[in-house]
């Protein structure tokens, strides 16, 4: 027995995902048959990730890559182009863009990434934060896995159905728990939450950083404080990697409390997989609302 375990590990299909969320969902579909790694560590800003030499090695062993798409992980294109086998590149059998089929929100321009002939909007890329979108994401992963490992397609499908059933039960629970927060005005540091807000009917009124990387202007800040007072927003949402000081300043100005939410698996303690990510975030929101 001791001999067979590593041998089995050898046979497992190596899947490289860009983010930890996609890793967790790939594990949900692939189960024991896959060995998934994510390139961006938990709690790093995936939009600003710089690939490391080890990532090239990880891609070398990979048979499937899964990416977020929607211009969220643009650096991945260059990495694939430079180092990956043809099968893993855009259009190859081992390439999965998890955003396929998702209805992106807040589409304002056209994609800046390399195209594949289709018209791609570049909407808000944080679509995995709507648990129902896991339906599409896991379907895309399933399709990719079935393409490279048709023998086990049935197992993957069964895994996915089991996962979606669990997710659906959880979703009802989350929706019930968040129901009292419905339409409660919230402020966030960065606009990462439209999908989350739509699913749980939360009202994100404004964002501290309107454009990524550009600090807020005085009138924007004044506008937020004004909005917080008129809407009665009493909670400011921050991701763990976002500046503590700016959010604390805003919270102090408008007598609000700061809620730290994870937008990705592993960003906070206790968010080890896709389901516990929502468990933790829902609990944090409910607790903060109760404390007011």
């Amino acid at each position: 027995m001791g001999q067979t375990a590593p041998a089995r590990a050898q046979e497992r299909i190596r899947v490289v995902t860009t983010t930890t969320d996609l890793r967790s969902l790939t594990e949900a579909v692939g189960g024991d048959l896959v060995d998934a790694v994510s390139l961006v560590p938990a709690n790093f800003d995936a939009e600003e990730y710089q690939p490391k030499p080890q990532d090239v090695l990880r891609l070398k062993d990979a048979r499937l890559v899964v990416r977020v798409g929607l211009d969220y992980d643009l650096w991945f294109d260059r990495l694939l182009e430079a180092t990956a086998a043809r099968e893993l590149r855009r259009g190859g059998p081992g390439y999965v863009d998890a955003s396929w089929g998702i209805a992106p929100l807040e589409v304002r321009g056209v994609t800046v990434g390399p195209g594949d002939g289709h018209a791609h909007g570049s909407g808000n890329p944080h679509y995995w934060l709507d648990p129902k979108n896991a339906n599409f994401i896991t379907a895309n992963i399933l399709e990719g896995l079935a393409r490279i490992d048709p023998a086990n397609a049935k197992t993957y499908e069964a895994n996915r159905q089991a996962f979606l059933a669990r997710l659906s039960a959880k979703l009802t629970e989350w929706e019930t728990r968040l129901a009292p927060l419905r339409s409660m005005p919230l402020i966030a540091y960065h606009n990462s939450w439209p999908y989350f807000a739509r699913r749980f009917r939360l009202d994100f009124v404004d964002f501290l950083e309107a454009k990524p990387g550009v600090p807020p202007t005085p009138s924007h800040l004044a506008g937020i404080i004004e909005a917080m007072r008129t809407h009665g927003a009493r909670m400011v949402v921050r991701e763990p990697y976002e500046p503590e000081r700016d959010v604390a300043f805003l919270a102090a100005k408008a007598d609000a409390s700061v809620v730290v939410l994870a937008a990705s698996v592993g960003a906070l303690p206790g968010t080890g997989d896709y389901l516990s990510l929502f468990d933790t975030d829902v609990a944090a929101l409910v607790d903060a609302a109760a404390a007011r």
Binding site: A103, S122, R201, V214, P215, P240, P243, E244
Partner: protein, 419 residues
């Protein structure tokens, strides 16, 4: 508006405090010719904070501050020696090495820590807009203490050579920079340090006068930066840095008038401006003739400022097509914004949209984006064709204008012509 002023004035007060101490250090730094020492010290302090963070101390704790301070003091020892070491290699090169190694070492450390990148960002990118009276209360005693030390030791610190006094200088400076970079960020602190001091040194030769000029210039420029940031809705730190850049340029322009013969200075300025404008116009003319379809910065800027300028070279049909496309592009943009707003409202109000409705909204948005891009393509194509049509006549005309504007000795050339 009142709200904005309400939280602008505490950060303006922070800026005044920063100008106060940095203008002084700036003059000393300029004299020592170690311009980038503040970046090196700030980076070292960040490295210290990173080490504390890796050892499990929270960001705002005393332990973290202790680590930062210890690292800064160690760096001050190094910096104190750099002057004696810098015999063949310039001191500034050694300072640069300290900076890059400290920066790279923090990246290596951070790479091992979860939640690390944010931490490093926090230390090096302060935001003056969200600093306030609490910060003033902590920096004022520190700055006063440092100023007192420097005042009491002014004769010792003035005479260079001794490694110990160099250490005292860099250690006190390190404490100031560590606190100010966390407040205002690297870019702003560098401007506070170098620009008021440069203006002071430009117009005076004794320390008290240099300081007075630097302080006045620094406070005025900060006020202009804050005002611009408020009036034109710009990020505050970046607006102040640019205001400082403009202030230095203005000081440079004023300098010859104050220091030299007014008429000579005026003559040189006029000639320089004429040459500059002539070169710009001639460059645009050549660019238009060679690559009429490319971006032509000067003409594009003119058209952006005064859209009617286009009518000078557009035919009626071109103008109509351009106008039409631009109106449609704006219409598509507005339609998309309305749809986004409608979707946003539907998140909390009324019945939740179902998946099919979401898919429809999403594909409408994509179509609007595509259509808008199409209209923008039409606009640039119409403009490119119009420019291609007039490329020779307009570029010749522009060249003639440039020649006339250039301060060439036309009269003498005319007199020399053989008749």
């Amino acid at each position: 508006m009142i709200e904005a002023i309400g939280f602008l004035w505490p950060s303006f007060l922070v800026a005044v405090c920063l100008v106060g101490i940095h203008a002084y250090f700036g003059i000393k730094i300029l004299a020592r010719n170690v311009i980038f020492v503040d970046l090196a010290l700030a980076q070292i302090a960040a490295l210290g904070a990173t080490v504390a963070f890796m050892l499990g101390h929270p960001a705002q704790s005393l332990a973290t501050y202790g680590y930062s301070l210890t690292f800064t003091l160690l760096a001050a020892v190094l910096l104190a020696f750099t002057r004696t070491w810098a015999t063949r290699v310039p001191q500034e090169a050694l300072i640069g090495v300290i900076y890059v190694v400290a920066a790279a070492a923090s990246i290596l450390l951070i790479d091992r820590a979860p939640q690390g990148a944010e931490h490093l960002k926090q230390i090096l990118t302060g935001n003056i807009l969200t600093s306030g009276l609490g910060e003033v209360a902590t920096i004022v005693p520190l700055y006063l203490a440092v100023a007192l030390v420097h005042f009491l030791l002014r004769h010792r610190l003035a005479q260079s050579g001794s490694v110990f006094w160099e250490f005292v200088f860099y250690a006190t400076f390190g404490m100031v920079v560590t606190s100010s970079v966390a407040l205002a960020g690297v870019l702003l602190v560098f401007s506070f340090l170098i620009i008021p001091a440069s203006i002071g040194v430009m117009f005076a030769s004794t320390l008290p006068r240099q300081l007075a000029i630097g302080w006045i210039a620094g406070v005025l420029t900060s006020a202009v930066g804050f005002a611009a940031s408020f009036a034109f809705d710009l990020p505050t730190g970046a607006a102040i840095v640019c205001a400082f850049g403009v202030a230095l340029a203005l000081a440079g322009l004023v300098y010859p008038f104050v220091r030299g013969n007014h008429f000579v200075a005026l003559g040189i300025t006029v000639r320089a401006v004429r040459w500059g404008v002539a070169a710009l116009i001639a460059g645009s003319a050549i660019q238009l003739a060679v690559t009429p379809r490319a971006d032509l910065p000067l003409i594009d800027m003119l058209e952006h400022a005064a859209p009617t300028f286009r009518n000078l070279y557009f035919t009626m049909a071109e103008a109509a097509a351009y106008q039409d496309a631009s109106e449609y592009a704006e219409r598509h943009r507005l339609a998309a914004e309305q749809l986004i707003e409608q979707e946003r409202r539907s998140r909390t109000q009324g019945e939740a949209l179902d998946e099919a409705a979401m898919q429809r909204i999403s594909s409408f948005l994509k179509s609007y984006a595509e259509m808008r891009r199409g209209e923008q393509f039409v606009m640039s194509e119409v403009r490119a064709r119009a420019r291609e049509r007039v490329r020779w006549s307009v570029s010749l005309g522009l060249l003639a204008v440039a020649l006339l504007l250039a301060p060439l000795p036309w009269r003498r050339l005319w007199a020399r012509l053989p008749r």
